[in-house]
Amino acid sequence: MSDADRSVEIEVLRYRPEQEDAPVWQRYTVPYSDDLSVLQALQHVKDELDGTLSFRWSCRMAICGSCGMMVNGKPALSCQTFVRDLLPGPVRIEALAHFPIERDLVVNVEGFVRKLESIKPYLIPKHPRTLAQGEYRQTPEQLEQFEQFSSCINCMLCYAACPQFGLDPEFTGPGVLALLHRYNADSRDGGRAQRMEVLNAEEGVWSCTAVGYCSEVCPKHVDPANAVNQNKVNSAKDYFLRFLSPKGAT
């Protein structure tokens, strides 16, 4: 049978608060091809079958971080998840777990963004430089210390994978803790002490129960579990050093 004759069933968990009190599953039939992504299947629904289906997407190439959703129960970017790997179907699609649903596959991102803003996610220079002084020197080895943690696309798959975040929405969570570590581990940065407050708080690193599923689902190999673990060590050091120095560890 050629691709042209084939189709695949997809089931989407719909939630439209203006029309319905509770989520309902809806089934669609979509033409199949070997290079069909889950995102393209949803786009087909939106364009041809049902314009009321709402979801976020943009770049189609796993870098903008918009299109995270649960595909057959697993957090995934729909643009880089291919239907060929999910046959025979039906493919079941839901909004990202652990987030409040605004509508259909659209979750509320506000909480995540507030956390991101709270950790001072910008370079706090150890030694300020003027433009005329040129760039900081940073060797490839120093870059490697944080480069991986700077690759987070804020897709929040790790939050959907994190059982602790599921229990406690206040938990800073893997992605933001990885970003915090990204700046702390940057040889140009001197802001670690200012960020320790978030790290040491109840909702900081110590909430993590080391399940590691966050790193497994990360589409960019950021390995947030590793970042959280390194910061448990830093947080512990900070805790002990605080008794030795009135200003805390630096």
């Binding site: 770049c59 190439m61 659209v106 910008y122 370079l123 433009l131 490839p140 696309i153």
Partner: protein
């Protein structure tokens, strides 16, 4: 309707919008900035830029060399004084990004590394692996969080500008989550909404790249300049159009036809040397490479594939280690999307629409003809790209002109006051009603996707790599027809919150207006220059008649009126645009001439 009073409103929070916001906040900390974006800032399409950002860096490089590469690369349709400003300010902006934490790739000694790029004589492209746009965008977004004066309106969709008393005074937005309208009053407005590549079928752009800001300015009488110049990037993924960065070739990749032959040597780009040679072969400019593909296809020397004829991007000789270090994203895209391991097999590629060289007509300081309105980034035409942009000049442009726009808008805002609130509110209400008409109409009409598909197909047929009057006219006619049909589209969704179908309908209106500006500007330019190549008796560049910018003026339901404006030539007279060995000879000749004049 809620009203928010800002000093400066910025539409679009990609690289240019964020850089502008930071410039306002740093330079004028007391001003209130409203930063409006239809997506969260880190989703903006700057994120997808891969290869790098150009700035003269090495001791043997010069501002003059960057200037000449850019001006000749643009086939002399550049504003030369603006290009001078651009190349002079590029390096400071790169260093500024470095100070803000951008993880630029480094040399062993700790200095920032630079790579070769198409049409650039000397390596001057700063890069962060092959995710430069991503890193720049996140660095800018995260840095912007430092400034309390920046008030973000994330996921707010701009439907119109409010113009009163001869100047722009605010914008009307929809809060996407609630569907509620809001008026953001502002003393100055910066448009930084990116390009319009989605009006074409096969393109590298994200779904949000729909020309919103261009259409907004255009509808308020600001001309769109040089819209016929649309860049096809030569190495994209068949079917989806996703981008394989020019850095693939900067690092030494080859382009091969079905015989395994480096066909670019047949198109004035040779000689073919095994090592990459700047401004030659695979490091030629994008317009020439996309045109060469077209000819190979005509000659039957391309390779048939399920999504049309392709050529091969061969990276095998670079080896897995280098590919993983320099081109990690490309590596993964090829494996995941195409099932091709680029260390073991060549990647099938074809050209796809990538960039709109033209945009909102702006002077060298980003000001438009409408007082208080500024623009920066891909949506803007400050005049540095001419008829063909060089790879890695656009990321730099975001920074250099984002900053200029921020400072210029702030200056304007401090020199004026908010206008009459009642009059502005009345205008805003009218804009809301227009937007609501789309969502409230019930009856029998067509689907948005049908019109969008026909538009994109027609743009590809009429305004592709090679053009002729007949096909361009057909596209112009088609667009007029689609504009009429768009008045009758029928939505499935009549709800308020997260009604993305409604937003798609508004975007389709923006796209049709921008597409018309492109098609009519193209039809009326009776010459070939840069990315605008004709096959119908106008195959040559015609400086006598067309060394000038096109200006498309909006004319409601009628076709746009096309006018022309002068090109600023300061020190580079239009010459032969040559690459490869011929280019080196031409360079030597130019230098000899310059020396003679001095």
């Amino acid at each position: 309707m809620d009203v928010f009073k800002a000093d400066v409103a910025i539409i679009g929070a990609g690289g240019a919008g964020l850089r502008a916001a930071i410039a306002v906040a740093e330079g004028h900390p007391k001003l209130r900035v409203a930063l409006i974006s239809k997506v969260y800032p880190m989703r903006s399409h700057t994120v997808a830029a891969e290869g790098g950002a150009a700035a003269v860096t090495q001791p043997h490089d010069s501002l003059d060399a960057h200037f000449h590469d850019t001006v000749s690369g643009g086939d002399w349709l550049c504003e030369q004084d603006v290009v001078d400003f651009f190349v002079a300010h590029a390096h400071d902006e790169m260093v500024q990004m470095e100070h803000w934490g951008c993880p630029w790739s480094r040399r062993p000694d700790g200095h920032v590394n630079v790579r070769a790029f198409g049409g650039m004589k000397i390596e001057r492209t700063w890069f962060a692996a092959d995710k430069t746009g991503f890193h720049m965008l996140h660095t800018l977004f995260q840095t912007s969080i430092k400034y309390p004066a920046i008030e973000r309106f994330d996921e707010h969709f701009c439907v119109d500008l409010v113009v009163d008393d001869g100047r722009v005074q605010g914008v009307v937005v929809i809060d996407i989550a609630s569907g509620e309208f809001q008026l953001i009053q502002a003393k100055a407005v910066i448009i930084a909404t990116g390009g319009a590549g989605r009006v074409f079928r096969e393109n590298t752009n994200g779904g949000i790249v729909t020309g919103d800001g261009m259409a907004l300015a255009y509808r308020h009488g600001v001309p769109l300049r040089d819209m016929e110049f649309v860049q096809y990037h030569p190495t994209c993924m068949p079917g989806t159009g996703l981008l394989f960065t020019e850095a693939c070739r900067g690092e030494g990749g080859f382009l091969l036809n079905k015989d395994g032959y480096r066909y670019l040597q047949d198109y004035g780009l040779g000689p073919a040397t095994p090592e990459p040679r700047n401004k030659a072969m695979e490091l030629g400019p994008r317009d020439r490479l996309s045109q060469a593909y077209w000819h190979e296809k005509q000659k039957g020397r391309a390779i048939d594939g399920p999504h049309g004829a392709v050529v091969h991007l061969d990276l095998r000789h670079l080896g897995e280690h280098k590919l993983r270090e320099r081109l990690p994203q490309i590596y993964e895209l090829a494996v995941q999307y195409l099932g091709v391991d680029p260390a073991k097999a060549p990647i099938p590629v074809l050209p796809a629409v990538h960039y709109t060289m033209g945009g909102i007509s702006a002077d060298g300081k980003t000001a438009s003809s409408l007082p208080g309105l500024y623009s920066a980034g891909e949506c803007s035409s400050v005049g540095i790209h001419g008829a063909n942009r060089l790879g890695s000049n656009s990321l730099t442009e975001l920074l250099v002109f984002g900053k200029v726009a921020g400072l210029a808008a702030a200056q304007f805002a401090t020199s004026t006051t908010h206008g009459n609130a009642d009059k502005l509110a009345a205008q805003a209400s009218a804009a809301c009603q227009r937007a609501l008409t789309l969502v409230e109409r019930r009856g029998k009409g067509e689907r948005i996707a049908t019109l969008r598909r026909e538009m994109a197909q027609s743009m590809e047929e009429g305004c592709g790599i090679y053009r002729s009057a007949q096909t361009m006219q057909a596209t112009c006619d088609k667009l007029a027809e689609l504009k009429a049909r768009a008045l009758q589209v029928q939505l499935d969704d009549h709800s308020k919150g997260w009604n993305t179908e409604w937003l798609l309908a508004i975007e389709l209106g923006f796209q049709l207006d921008v597409a018309q500006a492109m098609a009519h500007s193209a039809l009326q330019r009776k010459e070939s220059r840069g990315s605008h190549q004709r096959l119908d008796g106008f195959e040559q560049r015609d400086d006598a008649n067309y060394l000038k910018h096109s200006l498309a003026f909006y004319d409601g339901d009628r076709a746009p009126r096309i006018d022309y404006g002068p090109v600023k030539i300061t020190r580079s007279r239009p010459g032969t645009r040559a690459y490869g060995a011929a280019g080196e000879a031409a360079d030597a000749e130019r230098k000899a001439k310059d020396a003679h004049h001095v």
